[in-house]
């Protein structure tokens, strides 16, 4: 119970930030990518659950910035700065981007790898180094980040739990 109270959950196509000792978590990443951007000294961390690589793919007039890698990553960095994170000390960890099914239109099947690439590109643009990642494959992941230790805990259905 105590543990649950200190974990902030992020839904799909959503983002949020926490300050330690609170942790931040998102469940059931498949082709989506979970990106954690954090300031290790200030113990501030943000988590973004990206669904699509590029907001130009959106066919709706209203854009949810957290849905896309190209809009979500910069928006998360802005949120972190407002909370007191320093741009120069920001680091990133990421997980997800799996290929869950082999069938479907080719664009959709490759959505996982495209999400990974798009996130990497945005992080590079903002000069945020990727410290660790667990991406690709064919398995779903649930991730939880602890700003106190800067560790990203990753759980899969068949391959157990690991920290990166």
């Amino acid at each position: 119970m105590m543990q649950n109270q200190t974990v902030v959950r992020v839904g799909i196509a959503d983002m949020n930030i926490v300050v330690g000792p609170k942790r931040i978590r998102t469940s059931g990443l498949g082709s989506c990518v979970g990106v954690v951007i954090y300031d290790p000294t200030r113990k501030i961390a943000g988590l973004l659950h990206v669904m699509l690589p590029d907001s130009n793919l959106g066919k709706s007039t209203r854009i949810n910035v957290a849905k896309f890698a190209d809009t979500g990553v910069p928006a998360l960095v802005e949120m972190l700065k407002l909370e007191g994170a320093r741009t120069f000390s920001l680091k990133a960890k990421m997980a997800g981007g799996a290929q869950m099914f082999q069938f479907g239109s080719s664009d959709t099947v490759r959505i996982g790898p495209r999400n990974i690439e798009a996130v990497r590109e945005q992080l590079k643009k903002l000069s945020i180094p990727i410290i660790a990642e667990d991406v690709g494959g064919t398995k779903g992941r649930t991730i939880e980040f602890d700003p106190e230790t800067s560790m990203l805990n990753i759980r899969t259905v068949n391959e157990g739990i690991k920290d990166i």
Partner: protein, 210 residues
């Protein structure tokens, strides 16, 4: 949802009828396959957020077996048939008459997967052919594909296409259960039909309500 029209209760009722007819046919097919009584529950049609969609299927982190396919032709969309691991086990035990079958047993997994895939073929085929008859549209499924993983990981893949248009989804959700006699039912599975937003207009036009 769509730029052209408001979805009204009448539209939702029509989608509910689609779930009724489709899942009704699928339940009959399953009943014949297992030679057992299958009950179908009244379909629910809801406009939900992606996170709520995961909740409908048991929660983002829950491990399930799911058959996924795309619908192509006159309308496009995504269909899932979701079973709990326990239900999947039970289905296969019934089908192969082997009470020891377990999905978590690596040696048996492949056979189980192929049996479930076949189940997916039969159920989705009967669901969609009745939908096609009802709407007079040419609708055909892609080859179904099976995954055993977390709900969020599986279902989000089916939302990718949709997510280009919207952050919400109309889901036609029909639950089926196996009647074990003496009032006990088990083997619950759920059909989720998620038409792509441009297809709503096509469905309603084909039925003369738009």
């Amino acid at each position: 949802m769509s730029d052209n029209f408001e979805i009204t209760n009448m539209h939702l009722d029509i989608l509910k009828e689609i779930g009724n007819i489709g899942a009704g046919n699928a339940a009959t097919a399953l009943s014949q396959l297992l030679n057992q009584k299958i009950d179908m529950h009244v379909p629910k049609v809801e406009l939900v957020s992606f996170d709520e969609m995961f909740e409908l299927a048991g929660g983002a982190e829950k491990e399930v077996a799911s058959i996924y396919l795309r619908i192509e032709g006159g309308i496009t969309g995504t269909m899932f048939f979701v079973l709990s691991i326990e239900s999947a086990n039970q289905f296969i035990r019934n089908l192969i008459q082997d009470e020891t079958f377990d999905f978590h047993n690596v040696e048996q997994k492949e056979m189980g997967a192929s049996a479930l895939q076949e189940l997916g073929n039969i159920l989705s085929g009967s669901y969609l052919s009745s939908l096609s008859d009802f709407t007079q549209l040419n609708i055909y499924p892609t080859v179904p594909s099976l995954a055993i993983d977390m709900v969020g990981a599986i279902v989000s893949f089916g939302l990718v296409e949709l997510s280009h248009y919207s952050d919400e989804v109309i889901v036609i959700n029909t639950c089926i259960t196996q009647d074990q006699g003496d009032g006990v039912s088990s083997f619950a599975g759920q059909f989720f039909l998620l038409p792509d937003p441009p297809s709503y207009v096509t469905i309603f036009k084909s039925l003369g309500v738009l």
